[in-house]
């Protein structure tokens, strides 16, 4: 599975949706994921990709990791995976 497919699977599970309902330009809020859901999704992504995501729920906009939509999350993960390699 590609990064994109894996991320969509994780987010779809969190949102209790089918992966087909999650698109690259979906935001987590659009999908009905609340603040706890965001933290849980990030945890699931960290576990899946074995990376550490810099994210503080108090200042999400200031975090180095962009979670504004699914595409941004995928790009962020690819970057962290590459940096780790």
């Amino acid at each position: 599975m590609s990064t994109q497919d894996k991320v969509i699977a994780i987010i779809a599970e969190q949102a209790v949706l089918e992966p087909s309902d999650v698109t690259l330009d979906s935001t987590l809020a659009d999908l009905g994921i609340d603040s706890l859901g965001v933290v849980e999704s990030i945890f699931a992504i960290e576990e899946e990709f074995d990376i550490s995501i810099p994210f503080n729920a108090n200042e999400p906009e200031k975090s180095d990791f962009d979670i504004s939509n699914v595409a941004a999350i995928v790009a962020g993960i690819d970057k962290l995976v590459m940096e780790k390699a």
Binding site: S35, L36, V39, I42, N56, A57, N58, E59, K62
Partner: protein, 402 residues
Amino acid sequence: MKRVVITGAGTINALGHSVPATLAAMREGRCGIGQLDFRDVERLAIRIGGQVRGFEAEGRFNRQQMSLYDRFTQFTLTAAKEAIEQSGLEFHGELSAKAGVVLGNSGGGMQTLDENYRSVYEDGKNRVHPFVVPKLMNNAAAGHVSMQFNLKGPSFTVSTACASSNHAMAQAFQMVRSGMSPVMITGGSESMLCFGGVKAWEGLRVMSKDACRPFSANRNGMVQGEGAGIFVFEEYDHARARGAEILCEVIGFAMSSDAADIVMPSKQGAARAIAGALQDARIDASEIGYINAHGTGTAANDKTECAAVADVFGPHADSLMISSTKSMHGHLIGGTGAVELLACIMALRDGVIAPTIGYEEPDPECALDVVPNEAREAKVAVALSNAFAFGGLNAVLALRKV
């Protein structure tokens, strides 16, 4: 209904090992938060906290006691000794039979849990010390206080996360006010600053890596602390009859539940607790001069708390002072309301308002007088202490100058 006064106070926390040392630090706006120092700290993303320094359990407690006292119990007994000595009370006969101890605590013997899990899981040992259970149970501290000071009345531990101490003190207050007991020992303690304790909090991603800056626009989360605050709640006539020094009066409380979200605070839940405390104390909102805020330094708490205060107090919200001393001692979780009550006592008795330190940028969503960075002299007749816990469980106490 009986009047209830505080005739003894004790504490140990990152700001000091006694009430005078802690109040001096609050007056100076000193920060007790620093680099954490314990095993495996390098595996944490969050490495700061309000750790108690220079506290040697050896020498204070004998070997047998040490095998039974987790750090949270050690803190509790140290603070209880200071409080009860100040009150001058000795518990014999009928007083002993009626007096008890109600304490707040959230994590129990977290240090003991951490050490022993490490021992069996990481080190692969198959045997633990026989006293692990009596050492880690949440009510261990209350039990030891009752034994050490001969308190034979109602004793138990209240656990409501960050509001534990306020719920406990409200309970003790009710017992004295109703005439059930002339004296109750109350307050709370916590010691979660160990690898497992901080690691668990890290997961929520609400912790700051650099500082606790309540109400400041650039706040980025909470910082944990540890320690204890213990008080002697005494029936007013009982205290007067023996000529005890009275630190202040406890005049009311309220508890409420948000019934909404397990972690996100609710303005309505907080406002109902604040308004309820005013009503229970039979005072007008305009009489409140100081509020010791819950003020955790998270984005969500501080704006919600300020909105709740604005709702309850209306225009008077702009003339009262509200500060968060968590900026100095950190968030003591189950012990926090107890240590913070000291700031209320200082406001009422000494006329000194503890500051919110680390305040850097005004936040339009927290547009109240948060006593930024420097303590202030002010005459205050009535004060409130707020606590709003995970679980949506809130408890607010009201206190008056005597």
